[in-house]
């Protein structure tokens, strides 16, 4: 159904995957909440991707997850989805961060990373050899040692990169903060506040970046969605001309990263309901004409059948003023 909302600034179209395939050739998919959750495929996701590939559509995965390397993601797609999605399809925030640094700071001599192995690997692939910080997960903060030995000895790196870091600790917070205050360029892989893991949320890169931002008084350049660097990277590397932006669509589950990313890039977006954002959230955003509202909505990636819309045509009023009364709802298909 098409929902016209008062204010009328944005309309969200309910659709199916085959319908999207008529209008779009480049499918940029988010991973968590769209194709899988944890290590489980989200219903019919692999069927959906196979359908796109069989119909010669270009598929890219744009994920803010900087924890895994692309090699790990390729393996995961084979295991969980039984699909071959080679590493060229994967645009993780660590890959895009490394590309960004290579483009904008090719002469960077030293890079301090508060982040996961994925970031270290991607920076190495781009040819940066002095990338350090991984071993600091084991470091205990000692005040006099920090100021008298550590900071003066290591010097100030050209760049400090912050992303999700399972080995984050106070030492890294202090080291990163003080280096940024002394002039290191501050780059965040992404700013997702938290990651949905079943019942609870796990602290995301955004929660760590926020602390370092406050302590350093410097706002970082953010690489991942909703910033546009990922699309710039895809279009440059795959030589996609600008005019073909209208044949691109971003499919994601989190409005403040995926849909906002699409808006910022000037491409269309489709929200799926298998992740973080809900249809109610989407409608609320559409009502105020916000950049977070999607253009399309599907219950899940593998939506092949249109939803049968139901509308309320009759409700009978309770006929007796007694404690128990009945209302009858008639729904028309």
């Amino acid at each position: 159904y098409q929902r016209r909302v008062h204010g009328d600034i944005k309309m969200i179209k309910e659709c199916t995957l085959p319908e999207l395939m008529k209008s779009y050739d480049y499918f940029i998919l988010d991973a968590d909440g769209v194709i899988w959750e944890g290590s489980k495929e989200i219903g019919d996701a692999s069927k959906a991707i196979k359908f796109m590939l069989d119909n010669h559509k270009q598929v890219f995965i744009a994920t803010n997850n900087s924890h895994k390397s692309r090699v790990d993601f390729v393996k995961k797609a084979q295991t969980v989805l039984q699909i071959d999605l080679p590493s060229e399809c994967w645009y993780t925030s660590s890959k895009t961060t490394a590309s960004y640094i290579k483009t904008h700071y090719p002469a960077a001599k030293s890079i301090y990373v508060v982040g996961s192995m994925g970031v270290f690997e991607e920076l190495k692939l781009q040819g940066f050899t002095n990338v350090y910080g991984f071993e600091d997960a084991a470091k205990q903060y000692n005040d006099s040692e920090f100021w008298e030995v550590d900071l003066p000895k290591k010097g100030v790196p050209d760049i400090v990169v912050v992303g999700i870091d399972l080995g984050y600790n106070y030492y890294k917070l202090s080291y990163a903060t003080n280096c940024i205050r002394k002039g290191s360029v501050f780059i965040a892989t992404n700013r997702d506040a938290a990651i949905k893991m079943g019942k609870y949320l796990m602290p995301g890169a955004g929660s760590l970046v926020a602390a370092i931002e406050k302590a350093s008084d410097v706002t970082p350049v953010t690489i991942g969605k909703p910033s546009t660097f990922t699309l710039e990277s895809i279009m440059a590397e795959k030589s996609i001309p600008l005019e073909l932006k209208e044949r691109m669509i971003m499919i994601g589950d989190r409005m403040e990263t995926d849909m906002l990313f699409a808006s910022n890039c000037g491409i269309k977006s489709c929200m799926v309901e298998t992740g973080v954002s809900t249809k109610e959230n989407a409608i609320a955003e559409a009502k105020i004409g916000s950049k977070l509202a999607p253009n399309y909505i599907m219950s899940k990636l593998g939506s092949f059948q249109p939803i049968q819309p139901l509308s309320l045509i009759h409700i009978s009023e309770p006929t007796r003023p007694r404690l128990i009364s009945y209302a009858v709802f008639c729904l028309k298909k």
Binding site: G38, H67, A137, A138, Q140, Y141, D143, W147, L151, D165, L166, G167, Y168, N169, Y170, Y171, L173, S174, T177, N178, R181, K182, A193, A194, M197, G198, K199, Y200, L201, M202, P203, G204, G206, S207, L208, A210, A211, I212, K214, A215
Partner: protein, 306 residues
């Protein structure tokens, strides 16, 4: 000089806080609440005239309270900090570091809280246990110091824990942040000793509790109860212990070096304030704030100046 700063300057001229010294203040006030860092000492040395000020106030039979947002020290640690810098005549019952404030605040305002998951240092745990609150600090297993995300979903919420309490903790890691966040998301009380983002050091900054609090706020989506300055708990705890009431407030004064914590504490509790320039704030800061945040007095130092 821009128009804006000229206006600020003109406003100051009209509402300029009076410059005062300790002996003048001693004529009007009986209870002196001091911030510590930037007022009594700086890092590892005592500030000029701080000791003579304390001795003078004792001689004049004035009440003293040392109200610091630092949560890592117990009362005893606080005394030790002062004596290690050469201070004498420091009374343990005048120590009101935010460890003490938080413990007393919980005892009085949240008596049902009997067991807490503490992100904080030994001094903080000591003060909490002193009021009968059990502190737990479960070591979340890591592999080579890295948290394994596969274990996240098997972290169990300990339902015997009543609250998450956060103070400065230089031993904190990602695994503990995960568990604290899960407890907060499951509805446990989220209490924070102070929100200061950093303490200035000679060659940079010492990231303070405000950083970890920010991480937990963003990660859990919840806003904590903030106990330390500029919130009123430090004054409430001091007044309760010293048996002071609202009638005594006109005889109280808060002396500090930070507008956002010390002066605002005075505004939030209706107590006069004196801003000293031996720490964070400088005279030019007065031109950048609304007149409602101006201190009652300004002081260049703790010199008694009889």
């Amino acid at each position: 000089v821009s128009t804006q700063s000229t206006w600020g300057f003109i406003m100051i001229m009209e509402k300029m806080p009076k410059e005062a010294n300790i002996s003048e203040l001693a004529k009007k006030y009986d209870y002196f609440l001091f911030d510590c860092d930037g007022v009594m000492y700086e890092g590892s040395h005592a500030l000029p005239h701080a000791q003579e000020c304390i001795s003078y106030l004792h001689k004049e039979k004035k009440g003293i309270g040392f109200i610091s947002n630092t949560s890592s020290r117990s009362r005893e640690d606080g005394v030790e900090k002062f004596t290690s810098l050469g201070f004498t005549d420091i009374a343990i019952e005048d120590m009101y570091f935010s460890s003490v404030i938080t413990a007393q605040y919980l005892k009085h305002n949240h008596p049902a809280v009997k067991k807490v998951y503490l992100l904080g240092m030994a001094g903080f745990a000591f003060e909490l246990e002193r009021v009968g609150i059990k502190c737990v600090r479960n070591e979340i297993p890591t592999t080579g110091h890295l948290f394994d995300p596969e274990t996240f979903n098997s972290l169990k919420v300990d339902d015997t824990i009543d609250a998450v309490v956060v103070g400065i903790d230089t031993t904190i890691n990602y695994a503990q942040l995960c568990y604290a966040s899960i407890l907060i998301q499951s509805g446990k009380l989220f209490i924070v000793s102070n929100d200061d983002v950093y303490d200035k050091r000679p060659y940079g900054v010492f990231p303070a509790n405000g950083c970890m609090v920010e991480t937990l706020k963003v990660a859990s989506g919840q806003t904590p109860i903030l106990v330390g300055k500029p919130n009123p708990a430090p004054v409430e705890v001091y007044m309760r212990e010293k048996h002071l009431t609202e009638k005594d407030k006109p005889k109280m004064i808060i002396i500090g070096d930070r507008i956002d914590t010390d002066i605002m504490l005075g505004k939030n509790t209706n107590i006069d304030t004196a801003l000293v320039f031996t720490g964070v704030a400088s005279l030019s800061d007065l031109g950048k704030i609304p007149s409602t945040q101006l201190p009652t007095y300004i002081m260049k130092s703790m010199k008694i100046q009889l």
